[in-house]
């Protein structure tokens, strides 16, 4: 029977019902809408897609979104790496509390994070004021966008690295020490390479989320066309102008670039896994 070969035999009941329900639900809620995008996108004249690259405003928005997302994911990788290491390896009062705090960006609605960050870094804000006197403007510039995206990306990096650090074999580090490596050498040449694959996973997750992020960014971004207008916002503006083809073209270009970017990350990831194992 063909059906029998599709799945390994099991005595547990309910496979057909569970899988059938899962597929039907996914089909209706996820695939049907995305199919609409695919069908409408396929019908789009090619000029509309190339028009995205020809239009300076769209180009600026795409460059801003992807550039800020890459910078933010890189910062989140370094900062999140330190946080994950400290939470996994050190014991100090308040560690459990900090560990719980890491998940805040997962649980806090993006709009709430957005207005709170904007208010902190506004010229009248708790940090925006002092920073402004130092001549650093964060809110309503690209720096603000990066800050919001680091906020969103940080937990992805920490939660990807932390379990791997906790399971690291301390004996390897002891071996390095026995062979005369200083602690810094051990960290840089033994520990960091081992953590690289998990770090890349966190980087990729943070990047993917940052590219499409909207709520936490729009309030702190300033939203000036050509300057601080992110691509998701431009999609919304096009939709509000009822320029559906324009919005769709921009969305498809964004999806395409994200896909290519994540593919590239996966290639690096595969290399790191082969080279350093683990993760």
């Amino acid at each position: 029977m063909a059906v029998a070969r599709l799945r390994a035999p099991s005595v547990l009941p309910g496979f057909g019902l569970a899988l059938g329900y899962t597929l039907t639900y996914l089909g209706l809620i996820v695939l049907l809408p995305l199919a609409a995008l695919a069908v409408r996108g396929a019908a789009l004249p090619l000029g509309e897609l190339t028009g995205v690259f020809a239009d300076e405003r769209s180009r600026a928005a795409i460059r801003l979104s992807f550039g800020s997302a890459l910078i933010a994911a890189a910062i989140a990788l370094v900062a999140g790496g330190v946080v994950a290491w400290v939470l996994a390896r050190y014991r100090f009062p308040g560690r459990r509390f900090l560990d719980a705090v890491v998940d805040l960006p997962f649980a806090l609605p993006t709009a709430v994070a957005g207005i709170a960050l904007a208010s902190v870094f506004d010229a009248t804000g708790w940090l925006g004021g002092p920073l402004g006197r130092l001549g650093v403007q964060v809110a309503y510039t690209q720096v603000g966008i990066v800050v919001a995206l680091v906020f969103i990306g940080l937990p992805f990096v920490v939660r990807s690295l932390q379990p791997v650090i906790e399971e690291l074999d301390v004996e390897v580090e002891e071996a390095a020490a026995t062979l005369g490596a200083s602690r810094l050498q051990t960290l840089w040449r033994v520990v960091v390479p081992t953590l690289l694959p998990a770090g890349i996973t966190g980087f990729a997750l943070a990047l993917a989320r940052a590219v499409g992020e909207y709520g936490s960014v729009v309030f702190i971004a300033g939203n000036l066309p050509f300057r601080t207008e992110i691509a998701p916002l431009l999609i919304i503006i096009r939709l509000e102008e009822f320029d559906y083809p324009g919005a769709m073209a921009l969305a498809l270009v964004m999806l395409g670039i994200s896909f290519a970017l994540l593919l590239a990350v996966n290639v690096v990831q595969a290399w790191a896994r082969r080279r350093f194992g683990r993760g």
């Binding site: 309910g14 899962t22 050190y90 207005i115």
Partner: protein
């Protein structure tokens, strides 16, 4: 492994009563511990990052909400538009969360308990909404149900309004929150294995009994946490809801959308008061997660919830 005390615990760092590193004065520093200065430096960086980037905005949100006094705070929440936003948000979550919870249980049962072809493709599909920008998720529903959409003209001729109305918000929220419960249950059920269920079957339990008397009690806390995350996201969804809502005040504004309106009108006290409800909800979610993790009833595969 001669070093006791100063050596950091190798695995299971979250274990209770982890060694406190008494650091005996006369012993040499452990070869697998960082120099003291580096250790304190790294800890300071971590505390600073989490404090400034995560805790400070949260503190500011509550501070701003209460900056006009408790009276102004309560008044902002009792405003008719605020009450309508709260009602709508509760309605959307009340529809989206149970549907996605049932889906999550069914999907986890299929994925975690059985081996079948195309399983990894199915898992990718379940995760798909995580990797689609919320704005694009909302747009997709406009393409389906909007005036220029596939079904728009048909629906309009029947007098049914989907986008720029409550059904559109519910659909967009459903899309965005599809993976949460499944994502939490799949690794947990995989770790628990099939032995309990198989034992129940040998003892004569029927299919439904196996699920409700064996599986469900085993995963109930994971299910609870998945539902909480799903709920937090459903109530807080902004990008997708923003595209399909139409922003009709007092009618199609959810809490986050109303927060945006108030914030852009420089009505900061009211904006943060309303936002503080969602912030409180997220704090409750985090506290429950911390308690459940301490009781060791969640999946150990980590909770990278996107």
């Amino acid at each position: 492994m001669a070093e006791r005390g100063a050596a950091p615990p190798a695995a299971g760092g979250g274990a209770q009563g982890a060694p406190r590193a008494p650091a005996p004065a006369r012993r040499r520093a452990s070869p697998v511990a960082e120099p003291r200065a580096l250790k304190w430096g790294l800890t300071a960086v971590a505390v600073l990052v989490l404090g400034v980037l995560l805790l400070l905005p949260l503190a500011v949100a509550f501070f701003q909400a209460l900056s006009g006094g408790v009276g102004a705070y309560v008044a902002s929440l009792l405003d008719p538009e605020a009450r309508s936003a709260i009602r709508l948000t509760l309605l959307v979550a009340a529809i989206a969360v149970p549907l996605n919870a049932v889906f999550g249980v069914a999907a986890a049962w299929a994925v975690a308990k059985f081996e079948f072809r195309g399983k990894s493709l199915l898992v990718t599909l379940i995760d798909l909404p995580f990797s689609v920008s919320p704005v694009i998720a909302g747009m997709v529903y406009l393409l389906l149900f909007g005036a220029q959409g596939f079904l728009g003209p048909f629906l309009q001729s029947r007098g049914l309004q989907v986008v720029f109305a409550v059904p559109g918000i519910v659909l967009a929220t459903l899309f965005v929150t599809v993976p949460f419960v499944a994502r939490e249950l799949i690794p947990l059920m995989q770790e628990l294995g099939n032995e309990d269920e198989e034992a129940a079957l040998t003892l004569g339990a029927r299919g439904w009994q196996v699920f409700s008397l064996v599986t469900l009690p085993n995963v109930r806390w994971g299910l609870l946490y998945g539902v909480l995350l799903c709920n937090a996201r459903a109530m807080g969804e902004f990008g997708a809801a923003s595209v399909v809502s139409g922003h009709i005040r007092g009618q199609t504004n959810t809490i986050p959308l109303q927060v945006e309106v108030l914030y852009n009108e420089y009505n900061w006290v009211a904006a943060f008061a309303l936002a503080s409800l969602l912030a409180l909800l997220s704090l409750v979610t985090l506290v429950i997660k911390a308690v459940l993790e301490r009781r060791d009833v969640l999946s150990k595969a980590g909770h990278v919830v996107r």
